[in-house]
C-alpha cells in the first residue's frame, strides 16, 4: 500500500489544513504518515517529493467538524516533542469521524490515553516553566528602562504556551525568556517570539545571594526527602535554578545542624515528686540543669515555713548569698529586711526564694566583687521546675514578685514592670493574688535619688498590701 508522507514544519495550523484535506479525501490513518519538522536528520528528500506529487491538486474543500475538546487537545499536543504526535492526532481525528464523536470521553481508549498523557506532559512543563524561570535584572543602560531576562531548558517546545503568563504577571517591565527551543520577548505591550538559545548565559544576579540564604533557612534538616524534591523539581531544570547550587551543601551539613540542635536543647530541672521542702532543697543541691552550677558556690534554695501564706520571689542569689547559701542576706537583703519591717511582716513568717537558684556572675576588675549577670531565658527555663515545686508545696495565698525576672517566670510572658506594679493579679494559677514590685538590688543601683525613692515606696507599699491581703484572706476563711 502506498503511504503518503508529509512533513509538518509550521505547527498546528499547517497540520490542521493537511489533516482536513486528507480526511476529506478519505485517507485512513494507515495511509498517511506525518513527519515532525524538527527532526532534521529524518529529512528524506524523496519522501517530501513523494508527498508533493501525491496531492498536486488544490486541497479538498468541505466542512469538517470536531468537538472543541479535540481542538484544545491538538493545539496543546502540537508542542509535544514526540515525533508521533501528528500521527496520533490524525488517528483520533479519523476515529472521531468514523467511530464516535464521544471518543475523547473514553479515558481507557489507548489513543485517548496516549494523547491525554502527552497533554498532561505539556501542561506540566508549562507549569514548571512558570515556576522555575528565574529572572535576572539587566544592568541599566543609560536612558533605558529596567528590564529582565531568563534562560530555561525545556523538554518540549512550550515557550509560546508558557510566555503569556509572564506578560500577565510581569507586564510592567520589559523582559525576555530564552530557551533552546525558542525565545519570548515582551516590550511592555507585545509578546513576540524568536530563535532559541542553546546554552545558559552566565548568571550575575546579585539578589541570588539573598534568595539562597532564604532557601537555606527554609530547609528543615530534620527531614530529608530528596526523592520528593527531585520528583517535583527534576534535574533537567536545575541549570536554571540558582538555589540548586547549594543543595549538596545542605545535605552534607544536615547531620551537623541536627546534632547542634540537639546540643542546644534547653534542659529543665527534674525535681523529685515531693512536696517536702527539705527534701526538695536537698535535691536542688545537685542540680545541673543549666551551666550556672559550674561557676556558683552552691544552690541557694528558698527558706521559710511550709505553712507560710505569703511567698516572696526575687531574681537570683547575689555574691553574698552564693557564699552563705541563704536568700537575701547581702546588701539587697538589708534593703529587703528594712522594707519588710516597715510593712509589718516578720521575715520568718514568709517563704522567701529566687527564680533562679544559682548565682550568675562574671569576673569584675581585680579586687572587686564578682559582677552580677542577668540569667538568660534558657537558665530561667531550666530552673523553673524548682520554683513550681516550691509553690506547690506551700500553696501561698499571696505571691510577691520582686523584679522583672520573677514576674516574667510567673506570668509566662515578657513583663514591663511599670505596667504591672501596684496591681493585684488574680487570674494566674500560682496563687489567688499576685503582686509585682521592684527588686531591692534595682533600688541599690538606682541612678537618681528620685527613682530610688519611687522604687522603695513601691516595695514597701506592695509588701504592706501583701500583708493586708494575707490578713483579709485569713479573716474571710470559713
Amino acid at each position: 500500500m502506498f503511504v503518503h508522507e508529509v512533513r509538518i514544519t509550521a505547527g498546528f495550523d499547517e497540520f490542521r489544513d493537511r489533516a482536513r484535506d486528507y480526511i476529506l479525501r478519505g485517507l485512513a490513518p494507515d495511509q498517511v504518515r506525518f513527519l515532525a519538522g524538527e527532526s532534521e536528520q529524518e529529512m528524506d528528500l524523496l519522501a517530501s517529493l513523494r508527498n508533493e506529487t501525491a496531492f498536486d491538486g488544490p486541497a479538498k474543500q468541505g466542512k469538517l467538524t470536531v468537538p472543541p475538546a479535540y481542538l484544545k487537545l491538538a493545539k496543546t499536543i502540537a508542542h509535544h516533542a514526540s515525533p508521533r504526535r501528528w500521527d496520533l492526532l490524525y488517528r483520533i481525528l479519523w476515529r472521531l469521524q468514523k467511530e464516535s464523536r464521544q471518543l475523547l470521553e473514553l479515558a481507557i481508549d489507548d489513543d485517548v490515553r496516549e494523547a491525554t498523557l502527552m497533554q498532561k506532559a505539556i501542561h506540566r512543563e508549562i507549569h514548571k516553566v512558570h515556576a522555575f524561570v528565574r529572572f535576572e535584572k539587566v544592568p541599566n543602560q543609560e536612558g533605558e528602562d529596567e528590564s529582565y531576562f531568563a534562560w530555561i531548558e525545556t523538554e518540549h517546545p512550550v515557550i509560546e504556551l508558557a510566555a503569556p503568563f509572564f506578560a500577565r504577571r510581569f507586564g510592567d517591565r520589559r523582559w525576555s525568556i530564552l530557551t533552546p527551543h525558542g525565545s519570548a520577548f515582551w516590550d511592555g505591550e507585545n509578546l513576540t517570539f524568536g530563535e532559541g538559545v542553546a546554552t545558559p548565559p552566565p548568571r550575575a544576579e546579585s539578589l541570588d545571594d539573598l534568595w539562597k540564604a532564604y532557601y537555606r533557612s527554609s530547609f528543615n534538616p530534620a527531614r530529608i526527602k530528596m526523592k520528593a524534591m527531585r520528583a517535583e523539581m527534576p534535574l533537567k531544570y536545575w541549570k536554571a535554578l540558582p538555589e540548586t547550587e547549594i543543595i549538596n551543601e545542605l545535605i552534607r551539613t544536615a547531620p551537623d545542624r541536627l546534632s547542634q540542635m540537639a546540643e542546644r536543647q534547653n534542659r529543665r530541672a527534674e525535681p523529685p515528686e515531693t512536696k517536702d521542702l527539705e527534701h526538695l532543697k536537698f535535691a536542688a543541691r545537685s542540680c545541673q540543669a543549666c551551666p550556672l552550677f559550674d561557676s556558683a558556690t552552691q544552690t541557694v534554695f528558698g527558706e521559710g515555713p511550709a505553712t507560710s501564706r505569703l511567698m516572696i520571689i526575687g531574681e537570683q542569689p547575689g555574691d553574698h548569698e552564693d557564699q552563705v547559701g541563704r536568700p537575701f542576706v547581702g546588701p539587697a537583703g538589708e534593703v529587703f529586711d528594712r522594707a519588710m519591717k516597715k510593712a509589718g511582716i516578720a521575715r520568718s513568717s514568709a517563704y522567701i526564694t529566687n527564680s533562679v537558684k544559682h548565682f550568675k556572675w562574671k569576673p569584675g576588675p581585680p579586687g572587686k566583687l564578682r559582677l552580677h549577670q542577668k540569667p538568660s531565658g534558657s537558665e530561667m527555663h531550666a530552673c523553673r521546675p524548682w520554683l513550681e515545686r516550691e509553690i506547690e508545696a506551700i500553696r501561698p495565698d499571696v505571691i510577691v514578685c520582686m523584679g522583672q525576672t520573677a514576674a516574667t517566670v510567673l506570668f509566662g510572658r515578657a513583663v514591663r514592670l511599670a505596667d504591672e506594679v501596684g496591681k493585684i493579679h488574680t487570674h494566674l494559677p500560682w496563687a489567688p493574688r499576685i503582686l509585682v514590685t521592684y527588686h531591692p538590688s534595682a533600688i541599690l543601683r538606682a541612678m537618681t535619688e528620685e527613682s530610688k525613692q519611687t522604687m522603695l515606696n513601691s516595695l514597701e507599699t506592695t509588701l504592706a498590701l501583701a500583708r493586708e491581703c494575707v490578713e483579709s484572706e485569713v479573716l474571710t476563711e470559713p
Binding site: F132, K137, M229, E232, M233, R264, S378, G412, A414
Partner: protein, 434 residues
Amino acid sequence: MEIKRKLEILADAAKYDASCSSSGTQRKRDPKGLGNAEGMGICHSYTPDGRCVSLLKILFTNNCIYDCRFCINRLSSDTPRAKFTVDEVVWLTMEFYRRNYIEGLFLSSGILQSVDYTMEQITEVARRLREDERFGGYIHLKVVPGASQEMIERAGLYADRVSANIELPRQTDLDQIATAKTVSSVFDSMERIREKVAESKESRKGTSLTLKPWSEAKAETTAKKKLIFAPAGQTTQMIVGATNASDQIILDRSQQLYDDFKLRRVYYSAYSPIPNADATLPVERPSLIRENRLYQADWLIRFYGFRADELTDESRHLDLELDPKTAWALRHRSFFPVDVNTAPKESLLRIPGIGVRNVERILQVRRFRKLTLEDLRKLRISIPRAKYFVTTADHNPDVWKIDQLHLGDKLRSKKFEQLSLFDQSQSLALTGEI
C-alpha cells in the same frame, strides 16, 4: 543587623508553619503594578526536605512576649533574635517576586507589646505592598488570636488568605505547652473571619471569579458595593505529637473547624525538633508517617464523604502502616466488593486505591462500556490495593480474598505503600489522591 542575617533568622523561625499554599485567588494585575494571582498557586522551588517554596515565608520579628514551650521563639529560648522594618519586608517581597522566586508573601510574627500592635505592623506591610507598590501577588497574613475586629478587617482587606493557628486540638494540650493560648480565643478569631468571608462572598455573588486589580476592588469595598475580604479564605495548623492527643481527637477538631468556620485547609505538622527546644517536649520526633496519615484522613473527610468519627480504630489512632481508606475497608469488609460498573459514586469513593479523579473517569467511561480489570489498570488505579474490593465486567480472581483474615497483613507488606508513604506527603497534600 544586615538584611541577609535578618532574613536567615526570620525565615528559619517561620519554617515550622506548614502552610505553603498560594492558591484560591484570581486577581488581575494593576496596569501600573507588578503581580497577579491565577488561582492555582505555584511552587517555585523545593528544598531537600521535600517541601515546596511558594511564598516568602517569614516572621516580622521573632521577639515574643510569650513563653509557649513548643515554640522556637518563646521568650525563654536563647535563639538569636531579629526584627525587620516594614520597608525591608516590602523591598524583599517586591524584589523576590520580580525575579519569579515566589508567588507572594506569608507574614507572621512573634508578639510584640500587644496583639493589636503586632497585627498593625504586619498589616502595614500588606498595606504598603497593595497601596504604594500596587502589588497584585499573593499575601497570606497570620491573625494572632485575640486580635480586634478592626485589625482582622484590615488584614482581610489586604490579604488573600488569613490564618489563626489553633496549634493543638484541646485546651488541655494548650495548657501543657502553649499557656498563652486558649481554644476560645482562636475560635473567636476564626468566627470573625468566617463572618467577613461569607459577607464578602455574598456581596460578590454573580460577579466574575477573577478579581479586579486590588485598588479597584478596594474602591468598591469603600463604596460598600462589593466587599473584599481574604478571597482565599482561612486556614489553620495543628501540631502533631507534641502532646498525647489521639488522631481521633485531632480529626474531630478538624471536622469541627471545617463545619463551623468553613476553613479551607487544616495543616498538620509533625512536631519537629527545634533548636533551643524545651526538654520536656518529646525527645523523639513523631513519625512523619503519622502526619501523612492525618493528611490522608483529612482528604477523606473533605472529598470522599467520610466522617471524622469513622476513620480510626479502637486505639483511637490511624493505622500507621495502612492508608486510612484501606484501613476503613478492612474494618468494613461487608461493604465490599463494590461493582465498578453499577455502584453509586459514594460507594466508588470508598474503594481503596481509587481517587476522586478516577471515580469521575469511571462514571464517564461506564456510560459507554463496562469496565474490566485491565481498564482500571489503564486508568492507573493501584490494582494491588483495589483488586480485593471490586468486581468488574470480567473475572477478578482476587475478590474472594476479601474474607481472608490476613488480608490486612498482605496489604501492609506491599511495597507500593512504602513508596507513596515516605516521599509524597507534600504532593499528596496537594492532590489528595488516595
